[in-house]
């Protein structure tokens, strides 16, 4: 029965390769960055640069590995034990949810500048070439026959920003009351044929599968899609108003302070996030279509960012906690508008 021996050899080999893998890991620091969907390209570039600079300055070799998905879904995975050293999520609420489970110490938001948010962004429209449906503003999205692509706000951070931007249009621009705003949202989501779990899935649906007439997208994601496919396939449209999107980052204290890890892990993780605010990183952020918080860098790239009125979460709902409960919680507005 030679094959049984073969099988045991395989298992033994597997064990050995695992052992060597962990042996190697001791020589360099491995950081896991758990992030949301449309940051893949940004962090691929930033990780490479960070590893070079950090080794040059401190002598420590760092390898940053990534996990991407819908922001809420990613936060849930960290809460369930995904060992992220840093989280870079689409909104502060998802980081707070991790902190609520005691994985991040209270007061995390004041540990880094700009409320722990190294860049901002906004939500824009991506339409088909020539904009055949004439989509210019949020009101155009609820017209019959317009297919709107947006991910599921329950799992995606970007989708929650999309929702808030539309809600801001209904309540702040049109000045509608609650009932009329809910009706507006019901019509909007009635035009949505597919709810992907993350922003990247929604972009794929719109661009690659060719579904829908308009994609509600991160400004950066729209820029990326336009770059990947050329303006012959997609065109970005800036609505007059939108929302001030603030992606948020934090070190996951529980995982960087884990026993058996030296203090160099925390040092590397903190440096990783702090350097997002450096001029070089801010420039990289701008190149990937996010809006840097550094005023000088922002000014240098001003041509990339057409002006538009951006409402804050505070203006729209008071706070993220309130927004989450009212709009996206169990039996919140999002649940009610889908009920037939």
């Amino acid at each position: 029965m030679r094959w049984t021996h073969g099988a045991w050899h395989l298992v033994a080999a597997a064990g050995i390769s695992l052992a060597t893998a962990s042996g190697l890991a001791a020589a360099e620091i491995t950081l896991l960055n758990v992030s949301y969907d449309p940051t893949r390209e940004l962090f691929t570039a930033y990780n490479r640069r960070f590893a070079q600079d950090y080794e040059a300055e401190t002598g420590h070799r760092v390898r940053v590995i990534q996990s991407h998905g819908g922001s809420g879904k990613q936060a849930r995975a960290v809460i369930d034990g995904l060992r992220a050293h840093v989280v870079t999520l689409a909104l502060a609420y998802d980081v707070q949810a991790i902190a609520d489970h005691h994985l991040i110490r209270p007061g995390w938001q004041s540990r880094l500048p700009h409320a722990s948010s190294p860049c901002t962004s906004t939500i824009v429209f991506l339409v088909r070439p020539g904009n055949p449906k004439g989509i210019r503003d949020w009101g155009d999205l609820v017209r019959p026959g317009v297919g709107v692509i947006t991910p599921n706000p329950k799992t995606s951070g970007g989708a929650r920003w999309n929702f808030l931007a539309a809600w801001a249009h209904a309540t702040r621009v049109l000045g509608e009351g609650e009932a009329a705003a809910v009706a507006f949202m019901r019509r909007l989501y009635g035009n949505v044929p597919i709810l992907d779990t993350g922003a990247r899935g929604a972009t794929t649906t719109f661009v690659q599968r060719g579904i829908g007439d308009v994609l509600l997208a991160w400004e950066s994601e729209a820029a990326l899609a336009a770059r990947e496919y050329g303006t012959g396939r997609v065109v970005t449209v800036y609505p007059p108003t939108s929302v001030l999107v603030q992606p948020t980052v934090a070190v996951v204290d529980r995982n960087v302070d884990r026993r058996g890890q030296g203090p160099e892990v925390r040092a590397a993780a903190e440096a990783y996030l702090r350097r997002l605010y450096s001029e070089a990183a801010q420039d990289l952020i701008a190149q990937h279509g996010y809006r840097p918080v550094d005023a000088a860098v922002l000014a240098r790239h001003a041509a990339r960012y057409p002006p538009l009125k951006r409402f804050t979460v505070g203006e729209i709902a008071g706070s993220w906690r309130a927004a989450q409960k009212r709009f996206f919680g169990e039996d919140g507005v999002f649940d009610t508008i889908h009920r037939p």
Binding site: G72, A97, K154, T155, P193, I194, L195, R209, P340
Partner: protein, 274 residues
């Protein structure tokens, strides 16, 4: 452990112990934890979570699409089995070997390729779209994916029965003056029923739990194209562990009942044909 048949053989304790150990660790204990987690909800809360309108819509789609898919499987499966067993034509052996593709092909690959085939620009969707039929990202897409993964069950259940069917009965019917149509309906069909039913039940059970192929081709829209397993993942991702566990227990109960039904069916079938 009463009444062993072959007392001379050693190893009952060892093998039985190992079987029960693995079964407990891998299957029973995790399942127990799921049960406990769902039971931590009060009865009212459990009922609420298991029967939210969204959950009901998801069950409806899951069962409706599974039923539709299993029916497609039964109809085409019976036809294909008949053709493969009764007729000889070029490529028969090749097709026969390919029947099992859905068993061997990873569901993610199936979902990916079906979605690309049936999307409005795909090889098939291109022809269907002008007719207003959208195969991908619709309830129809769910049925297509489920029909794909379940297709071999009916064929593989019916084939051996058809093979072993006594052709003399058909000859007798023919010599007694029955038309071919009547012979097939009244002589062949009745003996195929149990096998067909078993295949149908197997395909249906598989469809109920299917996830990988469906997420690619369905739009995953609440109330419209969201199947129950997708809703479970959603509940989990929303930090709603109780809700996820409640839905899972419902699904588990249904699969378990189906499994028992299938075992009974198979026992009946084997007795029927022996």
């Amino acid at each position: 452990m009463a009444g062993r048949k072959f007392n001379v053989l050693p190893g009952f304790g060892l093998t039985m112990g190992f079987t029960l150990l693995v079964l407990s660790l891998v299957v029973l204990i995790p399942m127990g934890v799921l049960w406990v987690r769902a039971m931590e909800l009060s009865w009212g809360e459990f009922w609420h979570q298991a029967t939210t309108p969204r959950a009901l819509a998801a069950y409806r789609l899951t069962f409706g699409a599974s039923l539709a898919a299993a029916t497609v499987n039964a109809v085409f499966g019976a036809m294909v089995a008949w053709v493969l067993v009764r007729y000889d034509f070029a490529g028969r052996r090749f097709l026969d070997a390919l029947i099992d593709v859905p068993f061997a092909l990873p569901t993610a690959v199936a979902g990916l390729t079906l979605a690309s085939l049936f999307s409005d620009q795909g090889w098939l969707g291109r022809w269907l779209a002008p007719l207003g039929v959208h195969g991908a990202y619709s309830g129809l897409g769910v049925v297509i994916a489920l029909a794909f993964v379940g297709q071999p069950f009916v064929i593989r259940s019916v084939q051996p029965v058809l093979q072993n069917l006594d052709r003399e009965l058909e000859e007798v019917a023919a010599t007694l003056g029955a038309g071919r149509c009547r012979t097939v309906c009244q002589v062949v069909a009745p003996s195929l029923w149990p096998a067909l039913l078993t295949g149908f039940a197997l395909a249906f059970a598989r469809a109920i739990g299917e996830y990988g192929s469906v997420v690619f081709i369905s739009g995953n829209l609440p109330y419209r194209t969201e199947i129950a397993p997708v809703l479970i993942v959603m509940r989990l991702d929303e930090y709603n562990y109780g809700g996820a566990a409640a839905l899972a227990v419902v699904l588990l109960g249904i699969s378990f009942s189906l499994l028992i039904l299938i075992n009974l069916l198979e026992r009946w079938t084997s007795r029927y044909y022996s």
